[in-house]
């Protein structure tokens, strides 16, 4: 019997209680966590720290939306507002979105999906978390001791010459954090190349693994450029070395070239793992093999490469040559193709599937719709002439929030619900989870859809005051943000609740395919008692497979265990 067949039979097994020899319970004490080399525990360390950063970044967003409730600067001064939107962006991008799915779910799941006992370099993995935390704490220090007001993009000459805030400290924080990303990418690449179980060929890999492979390539090849860029900024700001200032012999938009060479692919560092999550979840809850497996796998690689050729679309109105603009505009259209391949293939996967609307699937469907809107509005912005009108307006803000929040955060929520039983050994309350998924979807759209209209009408981003005629749409947006905030708080409550009172999860509550579902929930410290041998393709769901709710399965299992 293949290991993936074992997965389906395990689904029918009894819903065991949380095992005592799991990675959670085999050791106790703070030291056992802070010095752990277990990829699963390190994933939990990331989960806790990034959740804290998420709510910190969210708090800044709340303040921004409250300020924008009225057209006047009632709540804060312009300078404070500058700091708040900068810190919102900086915390969310660098300390939540970029590491979110790779650091938590990539760390936890890659060895499980590959049939390995850990990542290739466990010590390097722990070092990555410590580097991440050092960078994070330094960023917090910058925020507390005066804040940063440059925007998360740190554009020169403001950041290099004029800003009087904690630019240097924040820059060093990001410089340090980047190394965490590089080391994680390196670890994943080596693990995927070297530690696949026997029989787990490249085209039997789950698409989550393909997505993380592509992501790791970007992390490894792109992140050093961010480090160099920040270093150049620090050298110009601190020592007057001329890189960007024309008076010192620099090029005024070189900073933007270097910054976006990393930061545009960084969007793919966020979205590619999210796409990997969607492939796993949609296949499970449609009970079908993902349509066009090879196309989805190769589209991840295509995005990783093409994503590096489009950065100039951020510079259309910066003084970049129109000829370069045309090339970047064309290439930006091209990079939409592999993303569209994925969306069409997911839609085709749903066709004639046995669809079950469990919470992860709700988030998954939300992702497809919202990411499509985010992606298509990206094409508006990649069009040279249209961008002249829309650049630096709320249209841009709405566009990237549809990709980053509507895309990445929805997929993150899908992932945490899908794999929560595996991570904790407990089920979350399904009805509360479905309710919060719907609240988040409504709150998100109410927050960000009006911003498309505001941007189209000409409201610029990064101002704390605006003309009176924009107030109605801003009130909608702030109301939506309140709903969205509540939507994010509800899962916090029921996830914590489920740790103590959630129903014990069986090893495979969703009857999903994949090696991670063949082992106990939560897994033992070394994952597999014996190295599994894979003999079939990924997502080998039977053609007549029907979904049975995990909650029903557990009930049935309990009844059978009483017999």
């Amino acid at each position: 019997m293949s290991s993936q067949q074992t997965a389906s039979s395990a689904a029918l097994g009894k819903a065991d209680s949380v095992p005592q020899d799991s990675y959670i319970s085999n050791e106790y004490g703070i030291k056992s966590w802070l010095l752990t080399l277990d990829h699963k525990r390190i994933a939990i360390l990331y989960l806790i720290s990034m959740t804290a950063f998420f709510f910190l970044g969210g708090a800044f967003a709340v303040a921004i939306r409250l300020e924008l409730l009225t057209p006047h600067g009632d709540l804060m001064e312009a300078e404070t507002y500058n700091k708040f939107f900068t810190q919102h962006g900086m915390v969310m991008v660098f300390f939540f979105l970029l590491p979110s799915i790779p650091a938590v779910f990539g760390n936890f799941l890659l060895p499980l999906m590959l049939g390995a006992k850990d990542l290739a370099f466990p010590r390097l993995n722990l070092l990555s978390w410590y580097i991440f935390m050092i960078g994070g704490i330094l960023a917090l220090y910058a925020i507390i001791t005066g804040g940063v007001d440059t925007g998360w993009t740190f554009y020169t000459p403001y950041s290099s010459t004029y800003a009087n805030s904690q630019v240097m400290v924040a820059g060093i924080a990001l410089f340090i954090t980047g190394f965490s990303s590089i080391l994680t990418g390196l670890n994943f690449l080596v693990t995927i190349h070297r530690m696949r179980a026997p029989g787990l060929t490249w085209f039997r890999l789950p698409l989550f693994v393909w997505a993380h492979y592509a992501t790791s390539v970007i992390m490894l090849l792109g992140t050093p450029v961010l480090a160099i860029t920040i270093l150049m900024l620090a050298l110009e700001r601190g020592f007057g070395m001329g890189f960007f200032d024309p008076k010192l012999g620099g090029d005024p938009i070189l900073f933007q070239h270097l910054f976006w060479f990393y930061s545009h692919p960084a969007v793919y560092i966020m979205i590619l793992p999210a796409m990997g999550v969607i492939s796993e979840v949609i296949s499970c809850f449609a009970r079908k093999r993902v349509f066009g497996y090879h196309f989805i796998a190769f589209s991840s690689m295509a995005i990783a490469v093409l994503g590096f050729l489009v950065w100039g679309h951020h510079l259309f109105v910066s003084g970049q040559s129109a000829y370069a603009g045309m090339v970047f505009s064309f290439l930006s259209m091209v990079v939409a193709i592999p993303s569209a391949v994925k969306v069409f293939n997911w839609s085709a996967t749903l066709f004639k599937g046995s669809i079950s609307l469990q919470t992860p699937m709700l988030y998954c469907l939300g992702f497809i719709g919202l990411f499509t809107i985010g992606g298509l509005t990206g094409l508006f912005l990649a069009t040279l002439s249209v961008d002249v009108h829309l650049h630096d307006t709320y249209f841009v803000v709405a566009h990237f929030h549809y990709v980053m929040v509507g895309g990445v955060v929805m997929a993150y929520m899908a992932a945490i619900h899908f794999w929560w039983p595996k991570i904790t050994g407990r089920m979350y309350p399904e009805m509360a989870a479905r309710f919060s998924a719907i609240v988040i979807f409504i709150g998100f759209n109410l927050t960000f859809f009006p911003q498309f209209l505001l941007g189209y009408l000409g409201m610029p981003r990064r101002y704390h005051v605006y003309p009176d005629e924009f107030q109605v749409l801003n009130v909608f947006s702030t109301a939506g943000a309140s709903i969205l905030g509540i939507g994010y708080l509800i899962p916090m409550v029921y996830f914590v609740w489920s740790l103590w009172w959630g129903k014990p999860a069986s090893s495979n509550p969703w009857q999903a395919k994949g090696l991670e579902w063949t082992i106990a929930s939560p897994p033992s410290p070394h994952n597999f008692e014996q190295i599994p041998v894979v003999t079939e393709e990924a997502y080998a769901y039977a053609s007549d497979a029907q979904f049975v709710s995990a909650f029903d399965t557990d009930d049935q299992a309990k009844q059978s265990s009483h017999v």
Binding site: L189, H193, L221, D251, H257, S321, A322, A324, V327
Partner: protein
């Protein structure tokens, strides 16, 4: 990964070559080669970088996969520099001052 336990002399020879090339960089800075100044300095720097990558970082003795990733790093550098210069050079075509 294939391991190569090279002798101390091997590393010292590479190190000596790097020192000579550093001296060449300094020397070239004192001579006016006109338009060739930058290409000469860059060529010396790239040679030094290659020596470090190939020998100190053991790529020379590694498998093809390692070569592939090392080459990818250089390809990405070409993309970064090439497309950035594409902008800077073509600014002049619009009647604006170029580099």
């Amino acid at each position: 990964m294939s391991h190569n336990i090279s002798s101390l002399g091997y590393y010292l020879r590479v190190f000596a070559t790097l020192l000579i090339l550093t001296a060449a960089t300094v020397g070239a800075a004192f001579i006016d080669f006109g338009a060739f100044s930058t290409p000469i300095a860059m060529t010396i720097a790239m040679t030094k970088g290659l020596l470090v990558v190939l020998f100190f970082m053991h790529v020379w003795h590694s498998k093809k996969l390692t070569w592939l990733f090392a080459a990818a790093g250089f390809l990405w550098l070409v993309i970064l520099i090439g497309m950035t210069f594409g902008d800077i050079v073509s600014r002049g075509w619009q009647g604006q001052p170029a580099l």
